[in-house]
Protein backbone atom coordinates (compact mmCIF):
# COMPACT_ATOMS: atom_id res chain seq x y z
CA UNK A 1 0.00 0.00 0.00
CA UNK A 2 1.12 3.55 -0.77
CA UNK A 3 1.80 5.55 2.40
CA UNK A 4 1.96 9.32 2.65
CA UNK A 5 3.72 11.61 5.09
CA UNK A 6 1.56 14.15 6.89
CA UNK A 7 2.60 16.92 9.25
CA UNK A 8 0.24 17.61 12.15
CA UNK A 9 0.73 21.26 13.14
CA UNK A 10 -0.49 21.96 16.65
CA UNK A 11 -1.88 25.44 17.21
CA UNK A 12 -2.20 26.27 20.87
CA UNK A 13 -2.70 29.26 23.10
CA UNK A 14 0.64 29.39 24.93
CA UNK A 15 -0.47 32.12 27.34
CA UNK A 16 -3.45 30.06 28.49
CA UNK A 17 -1.12 27.10 28.87
CA UNK A 18 1.23 29.08 31.12
CA UNK A 19 -1.69 30.22 33.25
CA UNK A 20 -3.01 26.68 33.75
CA UNK A 21 -2.52 24.98 37.12
CA UNK A 22 0.45 22.68 37.63
CA UNK A 23 -1.88 19.68 37.80
CA UNK A 24 -3.48 20.60 34.46
CA UNK A 25 -0.08 21.12 32.85
CA UNK A 26 1.12 17.75 34.16
CA UNK A 27 -2.01 16.13 32.76
CA UNK A 28 -1.47 17.65 29.34
CA UNK A 29 2.19 16.65 29.31
CA UNK A 30 1.29 13.09 30.31
CA UNK A 31 -1.38 13.03 27.61
CA UNK A 32 1.20 14.11 25.01
CA UNK A 33 3.60 11.41 26.18
CA UNK A 34 0.87 8.80 25.91
CA UNK A 35 -0.11 10.14 22.47
CA UNK A 36 3.40 9.90 21.01
CA UNK A 37 3.84 6.49 22.64
CA UNK A 38 0.63 5.28 20.96
CA UNK A 39 1.85 6.61 17.60
CA UNK A 40 5.15 4.80 18.07
CA UNK A 41 3.39 1.53 18.94
CA UNK A 42 1.18 1.88 15.87
CA UNK A 43 4.33 2.51 13.84
CA UNK A 44 3.12 5.74 12.21
CA UNK A 45 5.40 8.39 13.70
CA UNK A 46 8.31 9.74 11.64
CA UNK A 47 9.27 12.92 13.46
CA UNK A 48 8.19 15.34 16.15
CA UNK A 49 8.94 18.61 17.83
CA UNK A 50 6.87 18.60 20.97
CA UNK A 51 7.58 21.98 22.57
CA UNK A 52 8.53 25.52 21.62
CA UNK A 53 12.30 25.34 21.08
CA UNK A 54 12.12 27.28 17.86
CA UNK A 55 13.81 30.36 16.42
CA UNK A 56 12.09 32.73 14.00
CA UNK A 57 13.77 34.47 11.08
CA UNK A 58 12.35 37.49 9.30
CA UNK A 59 13.87 39.94 6.80
CA UNK A 60 12.69 43.54 7.17
CA UNK A 61 13.97 46.29 4.88
CA UNK A 62 16.74 44.04 3.67
CA UNK A 63 17.88 43.32 7.19
CA UNK A 64 17.55 39.82 8.61
CA UNK A 65 16.19 39.56 12.14
CA UNK A 66 16.46 36.46 14.28
CA UNK A 67 13.99 36.13 17.11
CA UNK A 68 13.94 33.68 19.95
CA UNK A 69 10.80 31.48 20.02
CA UNK A 70 7.91 30.84 17.65
CA UNK A 71 6.34 33.49 15.40
CA UNK A 72 3.97 35.18 17.80
CA UNK A 73 1.76 37.69 16.02
CA UNK A 74 -1.44 35.81 16.78
CA UNK A 75 -2.90 34.43 20.00
CA UNK A 76 -2.71 30.86 18.78
CA UNK A 77 0.77 29.72 17.83
CA UNK A 78 2.19 26.56 16.42
CA UNK A 79 3.18 24.81 19.62
CA UNK A 80 4.76 21.79 18.01
CA UNK A 81 4.30 19.25 15.30
CA UNK A 82 4.28 15.56 14.53
CA UNK A 83 5.20 13.95 11.23
CA UNK A 84 3.35 10.71 10.60
CA UNK A 85 3.24 8.20 7.75
CA UNK A 86 -0.21 6.69 7.13
CA UNK A 87 -2.18 5.30 4.17
CA UNK A 88 -4.46 8.29 3.58
CA UNK A 89 -5.89 11.58 4.82
CA UNK A 90 -8.65 9.88 6.82
CA UNK A 91 -6.07 7.97 8.84
CA UNK A 92 -4.13 11.21 9.39
CA UNK A 93 -7.32 12.99 10.53
CA UNK A 94 -8.09 10.28 13.06
CA UNK A 95 -4.61 10.68 14.58
CA UNK A 96 -5.03 14.47 14.58
CA UNK A 97 -8.31 14.08 16.49
CA UNK A 98 -6.50 12.14 19.21
CA UNK A 99 -3.83 14.81 19.64
CA UNK A 100 -4.32 16.45 23.06
CA UNK A 101 -3.83 19.81 21.32
CA UNK A 102 -7.02 19.23 19.31
CA UNK A 103 -9.06 19.74 22.47
CA UNK A 104 -7.32 23.01 23.45
CA UNK A 105 -6.62 24.66 20.11
CA UNK A 106 -6.50 23.16 16.65
CA UNK A 107 -4.45 20.67 14.70
CA UNK A 108 -3.75 21.36 11.04
CA UNK A 109 -3.01 18.39 8.80
CA UNK A 110 -0.67 19.02 5.85
CA UNK A 111 0.43 16.39 3.36
CA UNK A 112 4.16 16.31 2.63
CA UNK A 113 5.00 16.11 -1.05
CA UNK A 114 7.81 13.75 -1.98
CA UNK A 115 10.69 15.59 -3.69
Amino acid sequence: MQYTLYTLLIYSNEVAMQNASKKDRDDILAAYNAYSEAMQKAGVIRGLRPSGMSTTVRAENGKTKVLNGPYAETKEQIGGYFVIEVPDLDAALSWAARCPGASYGAVEVRPDWPM
Binding site: D27, A30, A31, N33, A34, Y35, S36, E37, A38, M39, K41, A42, G43, L89, D90, L93, S94, A97, R98, P100, A102, S103
Partner: protein, 417 residues
Amino acid sequence: MPQEGDEQAHLTAERVARGNYGKLVAFLVARTRDVAGAEDALSEAFAAALESWPGSGVPTNPEAWLIAVARRKLVDAARRRRAGDEAGPQIQLMAEELQAAANVDTDIPDDRLALMFACAHPAIDAGVRAPLILQTILGFDAATVASAFLVAPATMGQRLVRAKAKIRQAGIPFRVPDGADLADRLDAVLEAIYATFSEGWTDPAGTESRRRDLAEEGIWLGRLAVSLLPNEPEALGLLALMLHAEARRAARRDQAGDYVPLTAQDPATWNGRLIDEAERQLLRASKLTAIGRFQLEAAIQSAHVVRRRTGKADWVAIERLYAALAAITDSPVVTINRAIAIAETQGATSGLNVLATLADDPRLIDYQPYWAARAELLSRAGEAIEADKAYQLAIGLEPDPAVRRFLQRRRERNLPG
Protein backbone atom coordinates in the same frame (compact mmCIF):
# COMPACT_ATOMS: atom_id res chain seq x y z
CA MET B 1 -38.59 45.41 8.04
CA PRO B 2 -39.69 41.84 7.36
CA GLN B 3 -43.39 41.40 6.75
CA GLU B 4 -45.49 38.89 8.60
CA GLY B 5 -45.95 37.02 5.31
CA ASP B 6 -42.19 36.76 4.94
CA GLU B 7 -41.81 35.14 8.28
CA GLN B 8 -44.69 32.75 7.67
CA ALA B 9 -43.24 31.78 4.30
CA HIS B 10 -39.83 31.16 5.85
CA LEU B 11 -41.29 29.09 8.67
CA THR B 12 -43.35 26.98 6.29
CA ALA B 13 -40.41 26.45 3.94
CA GLU B 14 -38.26 25.47 6.90
CA ARG B 15 -40.88 23.07 8.26
CA VAL B 16 -41.33 21.40 4.89
CA ALA B 17 -37.57 21.29 4.34
CA ARG B 18 -36.94 19.67 7.70
CA GLY B 19 -39.79 17.19 7.84
CA ASN B 20 -40.26 16.33 4.19
CA TYR B 21 -37.00 17.06 2.40
CA GLY B 22 -36.14 13.37 2.10
CA LYS B 23 -39.64 12.53 0.99
CA LEU B 24 -39.47 15.08 -1.82
CA VAL B 25 -35.98 13.99 -2.91
CA ALA B 26 -37.03 10.33 -2.80
CA PHE B 27 -40.13 11.07 -4.86
CA LEU B 28 -38.10 12.79 -7.56
CA VAL B 29 -35.23 10.29 -7.53
CA ALA B 30 -37.52 7.28 -7.75
CA ARG B 31 -38.84 8.71 -11.03
CA THR B 32 -35.61 10.08 -12.52
CA ARG B 33 -32.81 7.96 -10.94
CA ASP B 34 -30.85 11.18 -10.74
CA VAL B 35 -29.98 11.96 -7.10
CA ALA B 36 -27.78 14.99 -7.76
CA GLY B 37 -30.29 16.40 -10.26
CA ALA B 38 -33.16 15.93 -7.81
CA GLU B 39 -31.23 17.69 -5.04
CA ASP B 40 -30.36 20.61 -7.30
CA ALA B 41 -33.92 20.95 -8.58
CA LEU B 42 -35.33 20.81 -5.07
CA SER B 43 -32.95 23.42 -3.70
CA GLU B 44 -33.96 25.69 -6.59
CA ALA B 45 -37.60 25.00 -5.74
CA PHE B 46 -37.01 25.99 -2.10
CA ALA B 47 -35.31 29.19 -3.25
CA ALA B 48 -38.28 29.93 -5.52
CA ALA B 49 -40.66 29.30 -2.61
CA LEU B 50 -38.89 31.83 -0.41
CA GLU B 51 -39.13 34.33 -3.23
CA SER B 52 -42.77 33.86 -4.16
CA TRP B 53 -44.59 32.70 -0.99
CA PRO B 54 -44.25 36.01 0.93
CA GLY B 55 -46.13 37.80 -1.90
CA SER B 56 -48.57 35.15 -3.07
CA GLY B 57 -49.18 33.45 0.26
CA VAL B 58 -48.22 29.92 1.26
CA PRO B 59 -49.96 27.42 -1.08
CA THR B 60 -52.48 25.01 0.45
CA ASN B 61 -50.28 22.05 -0.41
CA PRO B 62 -46.67 23.29 -0.12
CA GLU B 63 -45.17 19.88 -0.93
CA ALA B 64 -47.10 19.63 -4.20
CA TRP B 65 -46.06 23.20 -5.08
CA LEU B 66 -42.38 22.40 -4.48
CA ILE B 67 -42.60 19.16 -6.46
CA ALA B 68 -44.21 20.98 -9.39
CA VAL B 69 -41.42 23.60 -9.46
CA ALA B 70 -38.67 21.00 -8.98
CA ARG B 71 -40.19 18.95 -11.80
CA ARG B 72 -40.00 21.93 -14.16
CA LYS B 73 -36.37 22.54 -13.15
CA LEU B 74 -35.52 18.88 -13.72
CA VAL B 75 -37.08 18.87 -17.16
CA ASP B 76 -35.33 22.14 -18.05
CA ALA B 77 -32.00 20.75 -16.91
CA ALA B 78 -32.54 17.54 -18.89
CA ARG B 79 -33.36 19.61 -21.99
CA ARG B 80 -30.24 21.73 -21.55
CA ARG B 81 -28.07 18.64 -21.15
CA ARG B 82 -29.54 17.02 -24.23
CA ALA B 83 -29.82 20.12 -26.39
CA GLY B 84 -29.74 19.00 -30.01
CA ASP B 85 -30.18 15.38 -29.01
CA GLU B 86 -33.02 13.23 -30.12
CA ALA B 87 -33.82 12.58 -26.46
CA GLY B 88 -37.07 14.52 -26.69
CA PRO B 89 -39.41 11.57 -26.15
CA GLN B 90 -37.51 10.42 -23.05
CA ILE B 91 -37.75 13.82 -21.42
CA GLN B 92 -41.38 13.96 -22.34
CA LEU B 93 -41.93 10.60 -20.66
CA MET B 94 -40.15 11.69 -17.48
CA ALA B 95 -42.12 14.93 -17.41
CA GLU B 96 -45.39 13.07 -17.80
CA GLU B 97 -44.55 10.54 -15.13
CA LEU B 98 -43.64 13.26 -12.66
CA GLN B 99 -46.75 15.18 -13.60
CA ALA B 100 -49.04 12.19 -13.15
CA ALA B 101 -47.56 11.32 -9.77
CA ALA B 102 -47.64 14.90 -8.53
CA ASN B 103 -51.25 15.33 -9.59
CA VAL B 104 -52.40 12.94 -6.92
CA ASP B 105 -53.44 15.94 -4.89
CA THR B 106 -53.50 14.26 -1.48
CA ASP B 107 -50.18 13.06 -0.11
CA ILE B 108 -47.19 12.39 -2.31
CA PRO B 109 -46.13 8.74 -2.02
CA ASP B 110 -43.36 8.03 0.48
CA ASP B 111 -40.36 6.56 -1.35
CA ARG B 112 -37.84 7.30 1.39
CA LEU B 113 -37.33 3.66 2.27
CA ALA B 114 -36.66 2.80 -1.38
CA LEU B 115 -34.13 5.63 -1.49
CA MET B 116 -32.46 4.37 1.68
CA PHE B 117 -32.16 0.90 0.17
CA ALA B 118 -30.57 2.42 -2.95
CA CYS B 119 -28.08 4.39 -0.79
CA ALA B 120 -27.18 1.25 1.20
CA HIS B 121 -26.97 -0.97 -1.88
CA PRO B 122 -24.07 -3.50 -1.88
CA ALA B 123 -22.71 -1.79 -5.01
CA ILE B 124 -22.16 1.39 -2.97
CA ASP B 125 -19.00 1.56 -0.87
CA ALA B 126 -19.95 0.72 2.74
CA GLY B 127 -18.21 3.82 4.12
CA VAL B 128 -20.30 6.23 2.10
CA ARG B 129 -23.74 4.67 2.72
CA ALA B 130 -24.52 6.52 5.96
CA PRO B 131 -23.21 9.87 4.60
CA LEU B 132 -25.32 9.36 1.48
CA ILE B 133 -28.46 8.71 3.54
CA LEU B 134 -27.74 11.80 5.65
CA GLN B 135 -27.45 13.92 2.56
CA THR B 136 -30.39 12.57 0.56
CA ILE B 137 -32.91 11.90 3.32
CA LEU B 138 -31.97 14.70 5.71
CA GLY B 139 -30.52 17.27 3.36
CA PHE B 140 -27.15 17.70 5.13
CA ASP B 141 -24.50 19.41 3.03
CA ALA B 142 -21.19 17.67 2.31
CA ALA B 143 -19.22 19.79 4.79
CA THR B 144 -21.55 18.90 7.67
CA VAL B 145 -21.45 15.21 6.80
CA ALA B 146 -17.65 15.33 6.42
CA SER B 147 -17.19 16.93 9.81
CA ALA B 148 -19.41 14.34 11.48
CA PHE B 149 -17.48 11.43 10.00
CA LEU B 150 -14.05 13.01 10.47
CA VAL B 151 -13.26 13.13 6.77
CA ALA B 152 -11.89 16.07 4.77
CA PRO B 153 -14.81 18.06 3.24
CA ALA B 154 -13.39 17.85 -0.31
CA THR B 155 -12.95 14.08 0.02
CA MET B 156 -16.47 13.61 1.33
CA GLY B 157 -17.83 15.78 -1.47
CA GLN B 158 -16.07 13.60 -4.06
CA ARG B 159 -17.27 10.37 -2.46
CA LEU B 160 -20.87 11.57 -2.46
CA VAL B 161 -20.66 12.70 -6.06
CA ARG B 162 -19.16 9.36 -7.10
CA ALA B 163 -21.80 7.39 -5.21
CA LYS B 164 -24.62 9.36 -6.83
CA ALA B 165 -23.11 8.87 -10.27
CA LYS B 166 -22.86 5.16 -9.55
CA ILE B 167 -26.53 4.96 -8.54
CA ARG B 168 -27.50 6.44 -11.88
CA GLN B 169 -24.94 4.76 -14.14
CA ALA B 170 -25.06 1.30 -12.57
CA GLY B 171 -28.85 1.39 -12.57
CA ILE B 172 -29.22 0.73 -8.85
CA PRO B 173 -32.94 0.08 -8.29
CA PHE B 174 -35.22 2.22 -6.13
CA ARG B 175 -37.34 -0.34 -4.40
CA VAL B 176 -37.65 -2.22 -1.14
CA PRO B 177 -36.26 -5.69 -1.89
CA ASP B 178 -38.29 -8.75 -0.96
CA GLY B 179 -37.66 -12.26 0.28
CA ALA B 180 -34.13 -13.28 1.18
CA ASP B 181 -32.69 -10.06 -0.27
CA LEU B 182 -34.58 -7.97 2.25
CA ALA B 183 -32.76 -9.43 5.27
CA ASP B 184 -29.30 -8.77 3.79
CA ARG B 185 -30.09 -5.35 2.46
CA LEU B 186 -32.02 -4.23 5.52
CA ASP B 187 -28.87 -4.91 7.51
CA ALA B 188 -26.95 -2.35 5.46
CA VAL B 189 -29.73 0.23 5.88
CA LEU B 190 -29.84 -0.32 9.64
CA GLU B 191 -26.01 -0.19 9.82
CA ALA B 192 -26.08 3.18 8.11
CA ILE B 193 -28.75 4.50 10.49
CA TYR B 194 -26.75 3.23 13.46
CA ALA B 195 -23.57 4.84 12.09
CA THR B 196 -25.45 8.15 11.96
CA PHE B 197 -26.59 7.78 15.55
CA SER B 198 -23.16 6.69 16.80
CA GLU B 199 -21.39 9.64 15.22
CA GLY B 200 -23.69 11.92 17.16
CA TRP B 201 -23.56 9.94 20.37
CA THR B 202 -19.77 10.08 20.57
CA ASP B 203 -19.95 13.76 21.45
CA PRO B 204 -20.90 13.19 25.07
CA ALA B 205 -20.50 16.74 26.24
CA GLY B 206 -23.00 17.79 23.58
CA THR B 207 -20.79 20.75 22.75
CA GLU B 208 -20.96 20.19 19.03
CA SER B 209 -24.56 20.80 18.12
CA ARG B 210 -24.08 19.17 14.73
CA ARG B 211 -23.09 15.92 16.33
CA ARG B 212 -25.84 16.07 18.93
CA ASP B 213 -28.29 16.56 16.10
CA LEU B 214 -26.90 13.48 14.36
CA ALA B 215 -27.97 11.28 17.28
CA GLU B 216 -31.47 12.74 17.05
CA GLU B 217 -31.49 12.28 13.29
CA GLY B 218 -30.38 8.66 13.75
CA ILE B 219 -33.33 8.02 16.06
CA TRP B 220 -35.61 9.83 13.63
CA LEU B 221 -34.42 7.58 10.78
CA GLY B 222 -34.83 4.55 13.07
CA ARG B 223 -38.44 5.53 13.78
CA LEU B 224 -38.99 6.02 10.06
CA ALA B 225 -37.65 2.53 9.31
CA VAL B 226 -39.90 1.03 12.00
CA SER B 227 -42.97 2.89 10.73
CA LEU B 228 -42.32 1.71 7.17
CA LEU B 229 -41.33 -1.85 8.16
CA PRO B 230 -43.32 -2.49 11.37
CA ASN B 231 -42.74 -6.26 11.36
CA GLU B 232 -38.96 -6.29 11.04
CA PRO B 233 -37.57 -7.30 14.45
CA GLU B 234 -34.09 -5.93 13.73
CA ALA B 235 -35.47 -2.48 12.87
CA LEU B 236 -37.27 -2.53 16.23
CA GLY B 237 -34.10 -3.80 17.91
CA LEU B 238 -32.05 -0.95 16.46
CA LEU B 239 -34.58 1.63 17.62
CA ALA B 240 -34.57 0.09 21.13
CA LEU B 241 -30.76 0.15 21.16
CA MET B 242 -30.60 3.81 20.16
CA LEU B 243 -33.27 4.83 22.68
CA HIS B 244 -31.37 3.04 25.46
CA ALA B 245 -28.15 4.82 24.57
CA GLU B 246 -29.93 8.16 24.24
CA ALA B 247 -31.51 7.69 27.68
CA ARG B 248 -28.05 7.71 29.24
CA ARG B 249 -26.54 10.50 27.17
CA ALA B 250 -26.43 13.09 29.94
CA ALA B 251 -25.34 10.57 32.60
CA ARG B 252 -21.95 10.18 30.95
CA ARG B 253 -20.72 13.46 32.45
CA ASP B 254 -20.82 14.73 36.01
CA GLN B 255 -21.33 18.36 37.07
CA ALA B 256 -17.64 19.12 36.52
CA GLY B 257 -17.75 17.72 32.98
CA ASP B 258 -15.81 14.59 33.94
CA TYR B 259 -16.47 11.22 32.36
CA VAL B 260 -18.64 8.76 34.29
CA PRO B 261 -18.50 5.12 33.08
CA LEU B 262 -21.79 3.23 32.77
CA THR B 263 -21.17 1.11 35.86
CA ALA B 264 -20.67 4.22 38.00
CA GLN B 265 -23.67 6.19 36.69
CA ASP B 266 -26.50 7.10 39.03
CA PRO B 267 -29.71 5.57 37.55
CA ALA B 268 -31.55 8.72 38.65
CA THR B 269 -29.68 10.58 35.89
CA TRP B 270 -31.08 8.25 33.20
CA ASN B 271 -34.13 9.18 31.16
CA GLY B 272 -36.79 6.73 32.38
CA ARG B 273 -39.27 7.61 29.66
CA LEU B 274 -36.81 6.70 26.88
CA ILE B 275 -35.81 3.49 28.68
CA ASP B 276 -39.47 2.47 28.97
CA GLU B 277 -39.99 3.13 25.29
CA ALA B 278 -36.85 1.13 24.44
CA GLU B 279 -38.14 -1.81 26.48
CA ARG B 280 -41.52 -1.68 24.72
CA GLN B 281 -39.86 -1.74 21.27
CA LEU B 282 -37.62 -4.62 22.31
CA LEU B 283 -40.61 -6.58 23.59
CA ARG B 284 -42.38 -6.00 20.27
CA ALA B 285 -39.27 -7.27 18.46
CA SER B 286 -38.98 -10.38 20.64
CA LYS B 287 -42.55 -11.40 19.73
CA LEU B 288 -41.47 -11.62 16.08
CA THR B 289 -39.03 -14.40 17.08
CA ALA B 290 -36.09 -13.75 14.81
CA ILE B 291 -33.06 -12.82 16.85
CA GLY B 292 -30.35 -10.56 15.42
CA ARG B 293 -27.43 -8.33 16.25
CA PHE B 294 -29.37 -5.17 17.14
CA GLN B 295 -31.87 -6.99 19.36
CA LEU B 296 -28.99 -8.64 21.23
CA GLU B 297 -27.26 -5.30 21.69
CA ALA B 298 -30.49 -3.70 22.92
CA ALA B 299 -31.01 -6.62 25.32
CA ILE B 300 -27.51 -6.00 26.72
CA GLN B 301 -28.54 -2.40 27.41
CA SER B 302 -31.64 -3.74 29.16
CA ALA B 303 -29.52 -5.98 31.36
CA HIS B 304 -27.41 -2.95 32.34
CA VAL B 305 -30.27 -0.63 33.19
CA VAL B 306 -32.13 -3.28 35.18
CA ARG B 307 -29.93 -1.75 37.88
CA ARG B 308 -32.43 1.10 38.25
CA ARG B 309 -34.84 -1.41 39.84
CA THR B 310 -32.60 -4.10 41.36
CA GLY B 311 -29.55 -2.03 42.21
CA LYS B 312 -27.33 -4.39 40.22
CA ALA B 313 -26.63 -5.00 36.53
CA ASP B 314 -27.41 -8.54 35.37
CA TRP B 315 -23.83 -9.52 34.43
CA VAL B 316 -24.73 -13.20 33.89
CA ALA B 317 -27.23 -12.18 31.21
CA ILE B 318 -24.76 -9.64 29.76
CA GLU B 319 -22.08 -12.33 29.46
CA ARG B 320 -24.50 -14.72 27.72
CA LEU B 321 -25.75 -12.04 25.34
CA TYR B 322 -22.19 -11.10 24.34
CA ALA B 323 -21.45 -14.79 23.73
CA ALA B 324 -24.49 -14.98 21.44
CA LEU B 325 -23.38 -11.80 19.71
CA ALA B 326 -19.84 -13.14 19.26
CA ALA B 327 -21.31 -16.22 17.58
CA ILE B 328 -23.02 -14.16 14.88
CA THR B 329 -20.62 -11.24 14.38
CA ASP B 330 -17.04 -12.47 14.92
CA SER B 331 -16.06 -8.92 15.87
CA PRO B 332 -13.10 -8.13 18.15
CA VAL B 333 -15.19 -5.34 19.70
CA VAL B 334 -17.72 -7.91 20.92
CA THR B 335 -14.93 -10.08 22.32
CA ILE B 336 -13.57 -7.11 24.29
CA ASN B 337 -16.99 -6.53 25.85
CA ARG B 338 -17.43 -10.23 26.55
CA ALA B 339 -14.07 -10.21 28.36
CA ILE B 340 -15.28 -7.32 30.56
CA ALA B 341 -18.50 -9.21 31.36
CA ILE B 342 -16.56 -12.39 32.17
CA ALA B 343 -14.31 -10.38 34.47
CA GLU B 344 -17.48 -9.44 36.40
CA THR B 345 -18.86 -12.99 36.61
CA GLN B 346 -15.65 -15.07 36.87
CA GLY B 347 -12.91 -12.65 37.87
CA ALA B 348 -10.33 -10.44 36.17
CA THR B 349 -7.98 -13.29 35.23
CA SER B 350 -10.70 -15.10 33.26
CA GLY B 351 -11.47 -11.83 31.48
CA LEU B 352 -7.80 -11.37 30.60
CA ASN B 353 -7.69 -14.88 29.15
CA VAL B 354 -10.47 -13.94 26.75
CA LEU B 355 -8.67 -10.70 25.83
CA ALA B 356 -5.50 -12.71 25.17
CA THR B 357 -7.23 -14.38 22.22
CA LEU B 358 -7.12 -10.98 20.50
CA ALA B 359 -3.47 -10.18 21.20
CA ASP B 360 -2.35 -10.85 17.60
CA ASP B 361 -5.12 -8.88 15.90
CA PRO B 362 -3.35 -5.99 14.10
CA ARG B 363 -6.58 -3.93 14.01
CA LEU B 364 -6.37 -3.45 17.78
CA ILE B 365 -2.99 -1.77 17.89
CA ASP B 366 -4.66 1.65 17.71
CA TYR B 367 -8.07 0.68 19.12
CA GLN B 368 -8.50 2.53 22.40
CA PRO B 369 -11.24 0.37 24.01
CA TYR B 370 -9.00 -2.71 23.78
CA TRP B 371 -6.18 -1.01 25.70
CA ALA B 372 -8.55 0.56 28.23
CA ALA B 373 -10.16 -2.83 28.93
CA ARG B 374 -6.77 -4.52 29.16
CA ALA B 375 -5.49 -1.84 31.53
CA GLU B 376 -8.52 -2.12 33.78
CA LEU B 377 -8.45 -5.92 34.00
CA LEU B 378 -4.66 -6.06 34.52
CA SER B 379 -4.99 -3.51 37.29
CA ARG B 380 -7.72 -5.55 38.97
CA ALA B 381 -5.59 -8.69 38.63
CA GLY B 382 -2.77 -6.91 40.48
CA GLU B 383 -0.44 -6.58 37.47
CA ALA B 384 0.24 -2.89 38.04
CA ILE B 385 3.27 -2.51 35.77
CA GLU B 386 1.64 -4.10 32.71
CA ALA B 387 -1.56 -2.19 33.50
CA ASP B 388 0.37 1.08 33.51
CA LYS B 389 1.68 0.44 29.97
CA ALA B 390 -1.80 -0.35 28.73
CA TYR B 391 -3.21 2.79 30.41
CA GLN B 392 -0.60 4.91 28.67
CA LEU B 393 -1.59 3.54 25.25
CA ALA B 394 -5.29 3.95 25.98
CA ILE B 395 -4.71 7.59 26.97
CA GLY B 396 -2.65 8.23 23.84
CA LEU B 397 -5.37 6.82 21.61
CA GLU B 398 -8.33 8.63 23.21
CA PRO B 399 -9.62 11.71 21.38
CA ASP B 400 -12.07 12.82 24.12
CA PRO B 401 -10.31 14.97 26.76
CA ALA B 402 -12.78 14.00 29.52
CA VAL B 403 -12.22 10.28 28.94
CA ARG B 404 -8.49 10.98 28.79
CA ARG B 405 -8.64 12.65 32.22
CA PHE B 406 -10.64 9.70 33.56
CA LEU B 407 -8.03 7.23 32.30
CA GLN B 408 -5.24 9.39 33.74
CA ARG B 409 -6.90 9.22 37.18
CA ARG B 410 -7.27 5.43 36.86
CA ARG B 411 -3.64 5.19 35.86
CA GLU B 412 -2.52 7.19 38.90
CA ARG B 413 -4.63 5.02 41.17
CA ASN B 414 -3.17 1.86 39.63
CA LEU B 415 0.44 2.94 40.13
CA PRO B 416 0.68 5.96 42.46
CA GLY B 417 3.68 8.25 42.07
